[in-house]
Subunit: 319 residues, 2 copies
């Protein structure tokens, strides 16, 4: 895809990927509603295939490519959920899925990519080394690069999530999503605003990785320098394609502290009995900090993923 | 109620409690289905009010009592999920809910009972002291004792869970539930066998608290001496009322090791992204140990609860 998707393209994307992904449930909690004075609806993409919404974008990007485009397979450089999602999508398409990972990536991430059938190439843990390794694989195999977020097909796939939310809950006032590279937020904003023009869409990010906030303030995409946050999925900077949409569609970016992220994560585990990863707790952290006016509103919150190292939990600071 | 409930009484119980409890979702996992060679359906009572199926039985017992019976309120001695469930049910009914707890009960349990509006009386941490304290409250206030499991109304309420399972999934071959006092298993067996005579119902318990297994083997209810298990909800012995049903209705009791319980609990967290407590992991532990022939079968597993101390997880042995 060469330009930003329309709502009908996002709808077609959902038809294509539907056999391969879950229609995830939407949960709510009377306890959290009371605490925050709003009606909160949690879209559980932590229950999605590979444990994150990333299954949507990667699957659509791989399945919508032409045979010629993916004849040599697909490749990406990522140590996160997109890597597992792309590996899985390549298996569905029946082509090789090459994943470039830093050689210091957590063992649990490597195992996940291998479990889903990915072919791992290790490299030094720098962006330059990752890009070089991916370029080398492209040159040698003809594999198509599927960028984790700066890719219109990936953005289109991520937009399928909010379609399901608004089908089930057409009268939402507001949607909250975490923002890292911006794929999820961009797909969400395009689909949600087209389905319901009056709906508000907010992106939430850690204060220690606040490039989206600074970019929206200045109107110019700002770099993400030395991000410092436990929310490992949100350390990347907003992509060019994402920002070209978000700067005009987003109702705002809210930043949250590390302490609030941990509070929100633990609260979700304790009250809702579901496992979410730190990046996924960021929208609820904005409510913990009372940074959004949600009083009396119906608020959709996209729970982005649930891949956590259960041996090292963020509230166990002595570990 | 003076005798074991019929299916229609369990159906009426569900009508009565429906406004006050969740119809919990049923989740499945392609990963676990592959691992165990069966179709597994997990009924998520960890998402139930108060975080456990206990909300069903306590709510029915309190709401179905006559005004005269509960004029002085209700009382129980429990430090677990029944305590929170009874406290909540008393608030719904508008009567005092007295909870006798050992003075060494975990802080998180006390807080839970207080949050749900329970009136706590502390006592020494022995069964004799608990029974004496409850008897004293009964004598002083006229409160009705609502036993956690040896009570037909409580058993009737617990039976409402499997109604929902079999409505959604009428073609199950087998139901698995954990067994402690036996309230859940008994309500489940009565309802399931009445709805579908050919269905198998198995109870699973820790090998370190195997009174149900020994009772079924001998045909005589055996005492639970010095239970040793991480599954704190299953340390009680099977009740008299429960055993009077189970000895003729149950297809078997399976015991599992502590190691398997921890493996099954962690597997559920990692794969399904949901929080279950150790007692709740016991049925899956039977599959981990390959102690039940589930090959190719459709198996309902009741996930009993999700109340866990997140600071002390069982796989973190150094904590």
């Amino acid at each position: 895809m060469s330009s930003e998707p329309t709502l009908s393209e996002i709808r077609e994307a959902r038809q294509l990927i539907a056999p391969h992904i879950h229609r995830t449930p939407i949960l709510s909690s009377a306890t959290l509603d009371r605490e925050f004075g709003a009606k909160l609806f949690f879209k559980c993409e932590n229950f999605q295939k590979v444990g994150a919404f990333k299954a949507r974008g990667a699957t659509f990007a791989v399945l919508s490519a032409t045979d010629a485009e993916v004849r040599g397979g697909v490749v990406t450089h990522s140590s996160g959920n997109h890597a597992a999602a792309l590996a899985r999508a390549a298996v569905i398409r029946g082509v090789p899925g090459h994943i470039v990972m830093p050689d210091n990536a957590p063992k649990v991430k490597m195992e996940s990519v291998m479990r889903y059938g990915g072919l791992i190439t290790f490299c030094a843990p720098t962006l330059a080394a990752r890009e070089a390794a991916a370029a080398k694989i492209q040159a040698q195999t003809g594999a198509a690069l599927i960028h984790p977020f700066d890719n219109w097909a990936v953005i289109t796939g991520q937009g399928t999530c909010v379609l399901e939310v608004l089908e089930d809950l057409p009268d939402l006032d507001m949607i909250l999503a975490p923002i890292g590279g911006g794929g999820l937020t961009t797909g969400t904003a395009i689909a949600a605003k087209a389905m319901k023009p009056g709906i508000q869409v907010f992106a939430i990010e850690p204060a220690g990785a606040d490039d989206a906030f600074r970019s929206m303030q200045t109107g110019i995409r700002q770099p993400q320098d030395h991000p410092q946050t436990i929310a490992d999925g949100l350390r990347t900077g907003v992509g060019e394609k994402a920002f070209s949409v978000l700067h005009r569609m987003l109702d705002g970016v809210v930043t949250v502290s590390e302490e609030s992220i941990i509070t929100a994560m633990r609260k979700t585990w304790e009250v809702m009995k579901i496992i979410i990863e730190p990046s996924c707790a960021v929208p609820l952290a904005a409510l913990v900090e009372r940074k959004l006016d949600v009083a009396g509103k119906r608020v959709g919150i996209i729970l982005s993923g649930g891949n956590v190292d259960l041996d090292r939990l963020p509230w166990q600071t002595d570990r």
